[in-house]
Amino acid sequence: MIVSAILLAGLYATMSYGLALIYGVMKIVNLAHAGVMMWAAYVAFILIVHLGANPFLVPILIAPVFFVFGVLLQRYVVQRVMGAPPISSLLLLFGVWLIMQNISYLVFSGDTKAVTTKYTLMTFQISGISISINRLVVFIVGVLALVVLRQFLGHTYMGKAIRATAQDKEASKLAGINTERVMETAFGIGTALASLAGSLMALIFAFDPDFGRSHLLKGFCIVVLGGLESMIGVALGALVLALAEALSVLWLMPALQDFVSFALLVIVLIVMPGGMKELVDRLIRP
């Protein structure tokens, strides 16, 4: 139980970090994230079930495509409302999400789909705990992506520029950073992470065009829990949420699992908007 919660947390972290990156750089809440996850799940479904691709390579193939999609979305749509109040960008991306959903309904119909591969039911045992290979690989791919991203953000010019823009946009502009380029790249990376998470989720969960809404909310919960701009925070937040969900299945009812995470989102937003970091700070310095 705990192990599977940890494995799920890796996936949640991948999904949430995309949100956090976009929010950090642009102060935009990206509701289209859910649409991207859903689309990626469908693309993965086609590639794996119809074209027989290796399920664990597919996410890596999909991510670059969605990176381009994200860059274009930012350049031609989101960029236009950058100066407007933040709520209009939220509504705009909400509209984009609705469009994406509808396209999926048209192309794939509303049926629930699931990807089953030869790995789906495979498990192995470590000291009495059975672990699904599927989930383990999903976890590894997710975490690997985060590690690569961390190196990118820490050691390349673009990575540093992204972090600088997240800290202070105006000052970055003054320092000669092309912030528009930076925002496009950040949006692209965020979208790519969403697609990565979406295609990995397709291996674990069943999905339909409405897929992604509950995961999006969980993503918000994690991001707020973890504080907005740190990767370790996001990883911790993902862990807390995954554990809370696992425990809610144990103590309450399985049907209320999502209820717990949504309630957690609202409570966390209200009680500690600074996330766990703030809580820890408060505990250390009374």
Binding site: R80, A84, L90, G95, Y105, L106, L217, L256, A263
Partner: protein, 354 residues
Amino acid sequence: MRVKEMSRSWKLWVGGPVLAFLVLIPFLELQGGYLQTLGFLTFLYITMSTAWNILGGYAGQTSFGHATFYGLGAYTTCILTLRGIPALLTIPVAGMIASLYGLLWGYPCLRLRGQYFAIATIGVGEATRLLMLNLDDLIKNNSLLKGFLQKGVLTGGATGLMLPTPPDIQAYATAFYYGVMGLMFFALFVSWRVKNGKFGLGLFAINMDMDAAETVGVNTTRYKILALMLSAFLVGISGSIYAQYVFYIDPQTVFGFPMSIAMVLMPIIGGIGTLIGPVLGAVFYIVVQDRILTANLNLGLIKLSLSSLHLLVYGGLLVLIILFEPKGLLGVHHRFNIWWNKRKRRSLAATEKA
């Protein structure tokens, strides 16, 4: 001055017959009561759109959780009616319970700003829906709350609740048609009073700049909560009337996310933060829903059922409105007026020259 008089008489000339037509619809029995049902839905949605606009438009707090009020209103009415309380009496109770629920989640959530509030409301909406879906099972396991169940049922879980149908369904429907029409006018009156009163001024100030509003002495938290409760009251009543009109409710319809989306979309399409905008938006929404859900497009080779396109229409419209005309249909109308006047002036100048 003369222009203003002319425009007023113009409005009277159009508005009068339209109103008369709306009043007469039940007597005309056009298309077997189809228009009457359409009218009922339109009035209901105008009420909700106007109600959402009080918080979302005037005060600028975008709520994606208004379906909670709609659903709560509907469930309150069903639960009380099934326990023998006259249905009409349950309407104000439904409004009040929705309003109290608004206080319950609004008090903490409204301290969040802008985008955070919007996200929190999505969370509240989904959490409420899931809770209602599973409430019966939860209560069954609790010895203290067991007394609320009637034959083992309170909310009916996913299957929902059913009300008994009255004997004369035609007269019943007609009564509700006028009832909801009255409700719509009541909502518009409330919205108008809010907009032109001190309360509305405070809400507009919050919308423009919350910190500045606070500095000038607006009790922002209290204003926002009052706006939410007022809005919730109207939406709760709408839900109650809906439940009595269709006799059947379940959590997915009345608490569903699409319901919340509808309430966000209508005022934005029509013109957010105005009195007439939400009305236009709701009419547009219903007409699109009604036409699109029934139409089939025949493009030679491909037959396209338009019912599968409604999200595309709303989403596309939302994107276009945010990108190009944040004031919605009213803004388009305004632009058209400017263009029209310019043209008239130009042609006037041309004739004078000649």
